[in-house]
Chain length 518, copies 2
């Protein structure tokens, strides 16, 4: 009985001071402090072209990791981090991808949807095959232990998927909207591809590939892609419907914001529960929420959600890079490197080469195919853009050292963009793209900027469009958009709200923006 | 080597699907869904006086817990929750307390500061002594196993601390500002007291109490209180200074919001690291941030932080009650009850009685002492208010079943307020309190409403104050406030910003409130 009491006591109060594991308190303190430092330093270095919060975070993380290794040299288990990969997939990734969906330029994204699907599905598959075959070819000759067929395929699957988080850091949606939507979109779609690949690796007999297996594989991909997308869209629509029906805003902004955050998160977790692609789901949930739900809430909620989502994503990104930096010096992870440094270098170089070849093998052919279906010169992917897509897509492996390692590629992508698409010629294009038929040197750049600029101009100034722009409206993707608009206005928006379709409640949508509390 | 590769593989990709522990995914799904349900149902039931989100959450939690127990009856380990108390102290509690500090009516709080300190420190101590002595007296006679002196003292320490989270649910800052600030303030301050008590239990020889031990105890309390408060205030001031100096807002609202959230959280975690009272620290950090930092950021950041903090706190509260509801049916926790139901009932009744007596033993005497020092009739705590303070303070033990059990008291506090301070007489007072000398029956109520109302009127209408209000300005607490204002305006605000002391940067403080993205 005394024991019973003791445990109740522990439960109730005494544990209060003991239970919060000292190690996790220490690591939270270190990480929160470091994130603050990254934000301040990143802000101070903002003028610098080479630096941003991510790279600051990576460097600070590396230094911290180094100091911690030095300080805890005596101990064998030198992890300050009690964080696991769960942490990444459950807490860090969802806000980043959701915010990307929430803030994505939807028109740009859906106009390039087929190209994105080509890259994300077919491209990743091509890359997977080339890397797997290459790994078999090269690694069999090297003496790196007995790898089975499954291992080679796993290498192929891992290194064929690009990383969408890195893309967000390196490419800018406003400066290079086409590149951003292609590379980021590919990163989102190929999450579904890699889920299917891993399922296939576990369940199919991939040694004897025949038509049935391939068919199964394709069917699996379409099932996964469709169901993930639908789940995200439905969750988004449900949130829009609830908020529209119940007039939350008349009572409480906080309820609206809470419901948006929770339902977005729920979409991701449901997808994980059902073994779907959480990334695809939460991305489409973000798109739907920004199209419907966001317009159904009060003015305060709109400002709050916009900035709160961006802030959460921002913190998650900084944390991720910091974590990867700290983790990069993990001794155990590098043990197999120190065993035989020459061999490891060889393996790394071969992998890098395979990734480069595998990526080249689909970016250029698929871009060519995609260009065949584009009638307007403006919508085609130029060769220079193809080079950037090829290069920017090298970034992969967000969780592991791979990121620290590959951030190098990220670092080199920005200068590549500057080199291939110099900013002063961008300014030239910006002034020329609408008013005149693009001449040959600018034709490389105008599709990059023309679209984004065009729609902004459209909205802001309502200039009568020149004939060549009107011509653009006749292209197929435009007409899909046209029919979607019609459907949206006739059926979806009256049902789920959205811009201009929220019933006016006096005093409701526009709250006093300055709070009255002292 | 193959093993080395395997682990890298696990690290990189295959683990992606396996690692996220299925159980935690399931429980997150359940809880997020239930929180959404609570918000919607709480919204629908808002008109109902007896229901709010917390009680809905508690009931839904109980039902869910029941269903889960039924579904997993076969299994011994029927926890769906992988959450621990760490979860509570590291993630759930900080946003709730911080938001309370951020939104507290500062004038009201500091005017009653001495009374709050009396209740939180001296009162808790009185309660602790009475409950401990009573436990020794009664439990020795019952055959409930061998309890040591330390156990009795632990019982006293646990049951003498009120719970600040419950107060937030039951008392309303706008309706009953005096009661709210007294009961909630007591809850915040007695966190420091209970930390000191637990330290004392572990380190001091409490069997032979002499003057040295008492002195040590008092010194310990003042050290803990001062250092916790200072840590919170300094973190808040640091955030104000950084944001003011670096003009974050000119560049990014998200950085400002991120920095505010992170530094608030850092203050709590630092306090936990240093074994201070995290609750006190983060509460004062909230107060300082709302007084300085909040005025240094852009308009968008102000709206975002106000609602984001409130939303986080709201979600945390709903989650807490839901969790307590689910947890209440935990079989192991009730095992000692089922062993001897009669005895358990006896123990519970005795404890309840002791808590009631212990609380009465300080609320009424201390209120009397506090009233002696108040010159104005309006500032005194009436007997009816004392009864409510006594009763509302019965809520305690947020983490454990105790909450589920004590929410009953919360349920009964609202009707008690209605009974003792009926709303229609409140309305009477509202119209009378400023314009006329309070007559005898309304004098009970006017201090409750007069202050809050007065300051709002002051700000909004600038009515020339009647003489009896001017007289109030001569009371001591008013003059402390006067000198603080002077000091604040002369030194603090020019340094750390705050209302009206942010240098005007064209275009900076007022951003476009409607975002331009589609």
């Amino acid at each position: 009985m005394a024991l019973g009491w003791g445990s109740v006591m522990m439960k109730l109060g005494l544990s209060r001071l003991e239970a919060s594991d000292h190690a996790s308190v220490v690591s939270i303190n270190i990480f929160v402090t470091l994130i603050c430092a990254c934000i301040v330093i990143g802000h101070l270095l903002e003028e610098n072209r080479w630096m941003n919060e991510s790279i600051t975070a990576l460097i600070i993380g590396l230094c911290t990791g180094f100091i911690i290794r030095l300080a805890t040299r005596g101990k064998n288990n030198s992890h300050i981090m009690v964080f696991s990969e769960d942490l990444f997939f459950i807490y860090v990734l969802p806000p980043i991808i959701f915010n990307a969906g929430f803030q994505v330029k939807k028109k740009q994204f859906f106009r390039n949807f087929i190209t994105i699907m080509l890259f994300g599905a077919v491209g990743t598959l091509i890359s997977f095959i080339i890397i797997s075959l290459g790994a078999v070819e090269f690694f069999k000759k090297m003496d790196i232990g007995a790898l089975e067929v499954g291992d080679y395929l796993a290498i192929g699957a891992i290194f064929s998927a690009t990383d969408s988080v890195c893309t967000l850091q390196v490419l800018n949606q406003d400066e290079t909207p086409l590149l951003y939507s292609l590379v980021f979109g590919e990163g989102v779609v190929n999450d579904a591809t890699s889920v299917v690949l891993f399922n296939a690796l576990q369940n199919f007999d991939l040694v004897h590939v025949d038509a049935t297996v391939l068919l199964k594989f394709v069917a699996n991909f379409f099932y996964l892609f469709t169901s993930s997308t639908l789940l995200g869209a439905l969750t988004g629509l449900l949130s829009a419907y609830i908020i529209k029906k119940l007039y939350f805003g008349r009572h409480s902004t906080d309820r609206e914001v809470a419901l948006m955050i929770l339902m977005a998160y729920l979409s991701y977790m449901l997808a994980e529960l059902l073994n779907l692609s959480g990334i695809l789901t939460v991305f489409f949930c973000g798109i739907v929420m920004s199209h419907y739900t966001w317009h159904n809430v009060t003015e305060s909620s709109r400002i709050t959600t916009k900035h709160a989502f961006a802030t959460l994503s921002f913190i998650a990104e900084v944390f991720l890079f910091l974590y990867v930096g700290t983790d990069a010096l993990d001794i155990e992870k590098w043990k197999f490197v120190s065993d035989s440094p020459g061999k490891s270098l060889g393996v790394s170089s071969i992998l890098l080469g395979l990734v480069l070849v595998g990526r080249a093998a689909f970016v250029f052919p698929l871009s060519f195919i995609s260009n065949l279906f584009k009638k307007s010169q403006n919508d085609k992917i130029t060769f220079k853009q193809q080079v950037i897509i090829w290069w920017a897509g090298l970034m992969r492996g967000a969780v592991s050292i791979a990121l620290a390692y590959n951030q190098v590629f990220g670092l080199m992508t920005k200068p590549l963009i500057y080199f291939l698409l110099p900013p002063n010629s961008k300014h030239l294009t910006r002034s020329l793209s609408v008013s005149s038929e693009p001449s040959s040197p600018k034709s490389f750049l105008s599709p990059l900027l023309g679209n984004g600029q065009g729609s902004e101009l459209e909205a802001a100034q309502c200039i009568p469009r020149p004939t060549n722009l009107r011509m653009l409206l006749t292209t197929p993707s435009r007409s899909v958009h046209h029919y979607w608009r019609k459907f949206d206005d006739a059926f979806m928006r009256p049902m789920f709200g959205g811009r201009g379709f929220v019933p006016f409640v006096p005093g409701s949508p526009v709250e006093r923006s300055v709070p009255e509390w002292e």
